[in-house]
């Protein structure tokens, strides 16, 4: 992977009009897309790889929390014999493997929704810790992850929050945490540098979140990658859901922000753009959910299919993921809207971040048109079909 593209890209981004220069042309194209007059949606089987769990499914058996506790207690007693009383890496890795193994046996191929899984595993954890006479919180969030998960944090001047963000990530059973600092002139560096078990990447110049994530993605070794920003402290329990859903079979786990958005008429251009892109790719079910937002998780397969460099333009990466047939879903949500700090450059009409994201969406649509033709997922209806629709 090359970072130079990113550098060029960053430069482009700094004076985003460069990307936007294609505006006329793209808008001209876009106009035909934006108002697909006389067109109807193609009906086809939409890819919905990840079921929205807990809805319209047969009622699940009641959670047996006491059985979970008992199983945990037994594993805790074994661990006491094996590793002694001292809580170290050995006992922690024992907990993780015991939990994962027990969970797989217990659910027997019938994965419960995340909230239930978390309740079960918490009981297991309580039992485990009780046997070892420990406070269960030392084991963090009991997440029954089978595969290796990495996390990538990007940050530029986030000395107040970066430590808290890492604290939350350290409560998850991650195999590695990569912090990509860029252009920091505050104490972010020293807030990270003292910590153990962190891969710290420091770029003297500002790269932006997209480039930072792409750099982080080039370094990860995990089977899945959780992306978060250094300015936003999301509780580990909420982040765990994204990793859980990835193991459910999703290649791209987006943050479902729908519930935090105002009604359509009061939404901003960016939100509408995101919605439009998903509709254009025949995935209206994804609504305004987008790779531009964090947290999100990518599988190794997604990373390899899309390519780390494509993460420079997240909507394009998303479009490619959908068109390549990857399982893209938005099954869980973390409130990043009210947690998002307003700052110069990301608020107000015509702000630079807005222009950048709009430009990215144009690139995404351009890629989609290149691959699927100008009609994308829509088709033009014949006059008779149209008449039918109009006359109800």
């Amino acid at each position: 992977m090359t970072r130079s593209k990113k550098i060029i890209r960053t430069r482009k981004r700094r004076n985003k009009p460069a990307v936007f220069r294609g505006r006329k042309k793209t808008t001209r194209r876009g106009r035909t897309l934006l108002h697909p007059v006389g067109s109807v949606r193609k009906e086809r089987n939409r890819r919905r790889p990840v079921q929205r769990t807990g809805k319209s499914e047969p009622p699940r058996p009641k959670l047996d929390l006491s059985a979970a506790y008992a199983a945990g207690a037994q594993a805790g007693a074994e661990s006491l014999q094996l590793h002694g009383k001292i809580n170290g890496p050995m006992s922690r890795s024992h907990f993780q493997s015991a939990l994962t193994e027990w969970f797989a046996d217990h659910i027997a191929g019938n994965r419960p929704p995340y909230s239930e899984a978390l309740a079960l595993c918490s009981s297991y954890q309580k039992g485990y810790a009780a046997s070892r006479q420990e406070n269960e919180s030392i084991y963090g969030v009991p997440l029954p992850l089978v595969s290796k998960a990495s996390a990538v944090i990007t940050a530029c001047n986030e000395e107040d929050t970066i430590g808290k963000v890492i604290n939350e990530l350290e409560r998850l059973p991650l195999s590695e945490i990569i912090v990509v600092l860029n252009g920091c002139t505050d104490n972010s560096f020293s807030k990270v540098a003292w910590r153990k078990n962190i891969i710290l990447v420091n770029f003297p110049d500002r790269l932006g979140h997209d480039v930072g994530r792409s750099v982080g993605a080039a370094l990860v070794t995990g089977d899945s990658i959780l992306f978060v920003d250094g300015d936003m402290e999301v509780p580990a329990e909420e982040l765990g859901a994204f990793l859980y859903e990835q193991e459910q079979g999703a290649d791209v786990v987006l943050n479902d922000i729908s519930r935090y958005l105002p009604p359509y008429e009061r939404q901003d251009e960016v939100t509408r753009c995101k919605l439009y892109l998903n509709q254009a790719l025949d995935r209206p079910d994804l609504r305004s959910n987008s790779l531009t937002a964090v947290p999100h998780v990518l599988s190794r397969k997604a990373l390899e299919t899309v390519g780390t460099e494509m993460l420079l333009v997240p909507p394009k990466a998303q479009a490619i993921a959908i068109m390549e047939g990857l399982a893209v879903a938005a099954p869980c949500s973390a409130d990043v809207i009210s947690r998002n700090r307003l700052r110069q450059g990301n608020s107000g009409a015509g702000n630079s971040v807005l222009l950048l994201i709009l430009g990215d969406h144009l690139e995404a649509l351009n890629e989609a048109i290149r691959r699927k033709g100008t009609k994308l997922s829509w088709e033009t209806a014949s006059r008779s079909q149209l008449a039918k629709v109009r006359n109800g």
């Binding site: 992977m1 970072r3 990113k6 078990n197 891969i199 710290l200 750099v215 370094l219």
Partner: protein, 256 residues
């Protein structure tokens, strides 16, 4: 597309701040073509991280020592240059070093990798005896006169040593990263060269370009037994992988 002219200089390091500083300073002093420096710190606790931040170097800091191949691969993964150059932290570069190496690397399409000669190496990259006994500044002065581009001094080989190894991005794209099975190190450079040659690339020793190599070889000196064992194991690993003895490639090769 990566930056057409830039060279990414990747320097893995472990608790060698003194050496690293000299290395960085020499690069800044004697490099007259575009470059970026990426320091990959293998878990040092001697202030390497802080130095890199202060000096505005691109830094990848690993939580513990994961060995040379892993460190190189991390650096390669984020490198933006069209040329990728692995450099040991105990090297000091010399006037015109990089432009001369670039001249050789870009002299033909099928040349994949180049390396300089030095005062401390094995095989053909060690320059003729009789010049020894100088201090490092003396060697730099020596290089100031020695470093004159001369195609007749380029020598086609089957193996280059990793103390200062520059290759094209096209090689990286075709050959991939270093084989981390050779961790903590030794023969991963032989392996890489072998793979590059297999892909049809030619390798050159630039006998017109000298850089200074202190050759601290800490591991070799502090734990000679373990060092010997490592060398032997990785040599076997190479032979098992390729069915060839890496030592045969150290011998003299034909001129280009």
């Amino acid at each position: 597309m990566s930056n057409r002219t830039m060279t990414s200089i990747i320097i893995p390091t472990y608790n060698g701040l003194e050496l690293l500083i000299k290395c960085i300073e020499s690069i800044r002093k004697y490099t007259d073509v575009p470059y970026e420096i990426i320091v990959v710190d293998n878990g040092s606790n001697d202030g390497t991280k802080e130095y890199c931040r202060k000096e505005r170097l691109i830094l990848i800091s690993l939580p513990e020592n994961r060995g040379f191949p892993v460190a190189c691969n991390k650096g390669l993964a984020v490198a933006a240059g069209e040329q990728l150059l692995l450099l040991n932290n105990d090297c000091r570069v010399t006037p015109n070093w990089l432009s001369q190496l670039l001249t050789a690397l870009n002299s033909a399409e099928d040349i994949g990798a180049v390396g300089p000669v030095t005062n401390y190496a094995s095989g053909e990259q060690q320059i003729a005896a009789g010049l020894g006994g100088q201090d490092d500044d003396g060697w730099i002065e020596f290089a100031r006169i020695f470093n004159r581009t001369d195609r007749s001094k380029w020598m086609g080989v089957k193996r280059l040593i990793g103390f200062c190894l520059m290759f094209k991005r096209s090689v990286y794209e075709r050959v991939g990263p270093l084989d981390e099975d050779f961790s903590p190190g030794h023969y991963e450079d032989d392996d890489y060269c072998y793979r590059a040659v297999k892909e049809g690339f030619r390798l050159l020793i630039c006998k017109d370009t000298f850089i200074y190599h202190e050759g601290s070889a800490s591991f070799r000196e502090t734990q000679p037994q373990e060092w010997k064992l490592l060398i032997e194991n990785n040599r076997k690993r190479f032979m098992n992988k390729w069915g060839a003895d890496p030592r045969q490639f150290i011998q003299k090769e034909e001129s280009p």
